[in-house]
């Protein structure tokens, strides 16, 4: 039952007539054109360089062809999408309109009232100003900037201009180009030299419609010796009214700095989730991506770390969970551009009910990047015979003095394991959920506590009714 709850979150979007009760003040016409891009920039009152950036990106987008690998994207109709809706115009729904099964999923997950409304697209303003306010003051005292990207551009134009689009150029790939042309929202984080931000910065605290748009853009700059943990998304199903989510995240970690970026996405299952995430790490810096993909119809996402100077270390820990009609094509990229750099990729995927997961990874070692170490481990768990998992590890090693390891396993939940657990009184579903949560434990234990708890509860919900 619960599985259905979660899945219906997305599938029935239109059936529930969830949208357009109120005429928005400004909504771009459907489809993409130079006029639309100019209008977005005008609405936001942006500097000319940003408009140029957008227009150049639009040209790139039009020239680039769709990826021919990965998931089937043929059902995306670029002409049938609104590329911009002003945030204040998004708050059109009422709680009463939210389908019961979504409400009951929130119940089961124990999501607080205020968040539920936001997640269901009811409130545009997540009621956390009070909580956030004191945190914000602390951060400000330390000189940390934590704003939505639009405000970031308005208030700190010089910093944004210096870094924006430097990690992921506007023509990087078709979807990055699309994002660069029409981006809106996302986060801007700047951590000054030597500052350690103790609490994870959660997009939660300042969630509003600006923050979680379909083309959000995030830029994080970690100055030398600084540390920040940024958390985005949530385990609760996000009820999106738009079927294409294409974000860009750029991160710069300078000498000795460390950044961890945690994402849990549980988009409704009609969403194409095509995200470009990339970080550069300089001398002795560490960049860690922790990435959980539970929802969406299709996800294509390969968080990358460019290890630019000696001592840099990159990590990707990812979990993908594919159920019926879902295709999670996720992975990681590590580019060793300097000697003595190291990387670690751990990927876990679970497929059930005919769902498909793929690990797609790329490890590159450039010439003269001696003594690099890279360790790739990807494990797939199949819950039934209909489901599928593929591994596409690419290695491009142009230096001989390196230590590269790749290990891939595909396993099925064994009868022996289920029998063992059931012989102690666990039901088949409990046993299955236990094996699955054990499988992803190495990653879940890296999540902030409340996420870990929610994640396990979600796995249990997903497992309910999954056994024939």
């Amino acid at each position: 039952m619960a599985v259905k709850d979660i899945e219906q979150v997305g599938l029935d979007t239109y059936k529930f007539g969830f949208h357009d009760d109120i005429q928005p003040v400004y909504t771009s016409p459907k489809g993409l054109s130079e006029d639309v891009v100019r209008e977005i920039s005008r609405q936001k009152d942006e500097p000319a360089w940003m408009l140029d950036f957008r227009l150049e990106a639009l040209r790139q987008f039009e020239q680039k062809s769709m990826p021919t690998w990965g998931a089937d994207l043929s059902r995306i109709d670029f002409d049938d999408i609104h590329y911009y809706i002003r945030p204040q115009d998004r708050q059109a729904r009422s709680w009463d309109d939210v389908p019961d099964d979504i409400k009951s999923t929130f119940d089961k997950l124990g999501i607080p009232e205020a968040e539920r409304k936001f997640l269901a697209g009811v409130g545009a303003q997540y009621d956390s100003e009070v909580v956030y306010h004191s945190i914000k003051e602390d951060l400000e005292e330390q000189g940390v900037i934590f704003l939505d990207m639009d405000s970031g551009l308005r208030e700190h134009e010089e910093i944004v201009r210096e870094y924006f689009g430097t990690v992921i150029p506007n023509g990087d790939n078709k979807f990055a180009a699309l994002n660069s042309a029409v981006w809106s929202g996302g986060s801007f984080v700047y951590v000054p030299e030597g500052v350690r931000v103790d609490i994870p910065l959660q997009a939660y605290f300042r969630i509003n419609a600006e923050n979680m748009g379909q083309f959000e853009r995030t830029l994080i700059i970690v100055e030398p010796g600084a540390y920040v943990h940024y958390v985005e998304g949530c385990t609760a199903p996000v009820y999106a009214t738009d079927s294409l989510h294409s974000a860009v995240v750029e991160i710069i970690v300078k000498e000795g700095g460390r950044c961890r970026y945690t994402t849990i996405q549980n988009w409704s299952t009609d969403v194409f989730n095509l995200v470009t995430k990339r970080a550069v790490a300089y001398r002795d810096a560490t960049m860690e991506w922790v990435d959980g993909n539970l929802g969406s119809k299709v996800t294509m996402k390969y968080p990358a770390v460019y290890l630019m100077e000696p001592g840099a270390h990159g990590e990707v820990l990812s979990i993908a969970f594919a159920g019926e009609d879902q295709h999670q094509d996720a992975g990681a990229k590590m580019v060793h551009a300097a000697p003595d750099t190291s990387s670690l990729i751990t990927s876990k995927s679970i497929s059930r009910k005919g769902g498909r997961t793929a690990y797609r990874g790329y490890v590159q070692v450039m010439p003269d990047a001696e003594r690099c170490r890279s360790n790739v481990e990807c494990d797939a768990l199949l819950i039934d015979d209909r489901s599928r998992s593929d591994t596409y590890p690419y290695m491009d090693i142009e230096e001989s003095d390196v230590a590269i390891q790749h290990e891939a396993t595909v396993s099925k939940v064994s009868d022996q394991q289920l029998f063992y657990l059931m012989s102690r009184g666990l039901t088949q579903e409990q046993a299955m959920a236990m094996v699955v949560s054990g499988f992803i434990e190495p990653i879940v234990k890296e999540l902030p506590m409340e996420y870990a708890v929610e994640m396990n509860r979600l796995i249990e919900l997903q497992m309910e009714g999954s056994i024939g």
Binding site: S414, D415, Q416, Q417, F419, Y420, L421, M422, S423, R424, G425, L426, T427, Q428, Q430, A431, M434, V435, S437, G438, F439, I440, E441, P442
Partner: protein
């Protein structure tokens, strides 16, 4: 052991009518105690009897009698095959509450097959025979239902469950058989107490279930589960193999301590040594899928001295 309905006080003709269905159930139950006379499955369940309002006195005594008698694990003429090969060829065996029975037999004679079948492993197909426990037709139940009914199997080869900590698994398993959840603190105390009894390093509580455990550690962990879950009938499948001498004694002590008036134990072993520590009430010899001899502990002693030759076992297990 009570046999006739008259052994249940209060079963006058008048009361029978009043008791109605419960009486009927009781009667069936009584039949079960006999040597497999009826395959009937509807059986009195103590919880239901308590409902009987003004017949409180009768029900009470009825319940007492019922509980005692029913905890006999009763196996009748059990035939089991695996992938179309007949392994068990008519096993009949009773393990009453509070007794320890040993099951011995050569490699491949079907001991683990019996253990797995009793616990409901899907690979083992029962082609004939019955198993009853606590008045339930065990073969009708799923594995987890059997566990909650009070059956427990300490595995010869316990499965590894990566990523699942011993403590979290055991707490879930314990809660599965309790009405009210045990609090985290209370569970912690219970677990530590039992681990201490088995002289296990507390670190094991947070290790992943059986993953990377040595052979002996796995066995000890099985007994830990036995101690925490407190089943009513435990099958120990070669728990002694792989244990060093000290561990053997510790585990045996553990079992002996649990061996109170209620726990029935079926110990599968190859060696007399374990039986020196856990003294069996009876010893059964399984050869080629049949119990060929049952007797007191002297049976095990003789086996230790003479082997299985006197049963013509070598030949028998070959063509199994």
């Amino acid at each position: 052991m009570p046999r006739a309905p008259s052994a249940c006080p209060g079963f006058s003709r008048k009361n029978r009518r009043k008791l109605g269905r419960a009486y009927a159930r009781c009667y069936v139950w009584e039949e079960q105690l006999g040597p497999a006379r009826s395959p009937t499955r509807t059986i009195l369940q103590p919880a239901r009897i308590v409902f009987l309002g003004d017949h409180r006195r009768e029900t009470h005594s009825l319940r007492m009698t019922a509980t005692n008698g029913q905890t006999t694990l009763s196996i009748r003429d059990l035939h089991v095959s695996v992938e179309d090969t007949q392994i068990l060829r008519g096993v009949t065996l009773d393990v009453p509450a509070g007794e320890v029975h040993a099951l011995m037999g050569p490699n491949g004679s079907g001991k683990s097959t019996l253990a797995n079948t009793l616990m409901g492993h899907p690979a083992y197909e029962v082609t004939a025979g019955q198993v009853h426990f606590k008045g339930q037709d065990v073969l009708e139940l799923e594995t987890d239902e059997r566990a909650r009914l009070g059956l427990f199997l300490a595995f010869q080869y316990p499965a590894e469950i990566p990523g699942v900590r011993v403590a979290s698994f055991l707490r879930l398993a314990l809660n599965a058989r309790r009405e009210a959840e045990i609090s985290v603190m209370e569970f912690r105390r219970l677990l530590m107490e039992k681990m201490q009894m088995l002289r296990m390093d507390p670190k094991f509580a947070s290790r992943y279930l059986n993953e990377g455990f040595s052979g002996g550690e796995k066995k000890r962990n099985e007994i830990l589960q036995l101690a925490v879950l407190e089943p009513e009938l435990a099958i120990l499948d070669e728990t002694d193999s792989g244990l060093d001498i000290d561990a053997l004694r510790i585990v045996a002590d553990g079992v002996n301590r649990l061996r109170g008036s209620d726990l029935g134990v079926l110990v599968i072993t190859h060696y007399q040594r374990l039986l020196n520590y856990i003294e069996p009430d009876r010893v059964h010899v399984l050869i080629d899928g049949r119990v060929v001899e049952s007797g007191g502990k002297e049976v095990a002693e003789r086996l230790e001295a003479e082997g299985y030759e006197r049963y013509g076992a070598a030949a028998a297990s070959e063509d199994a």
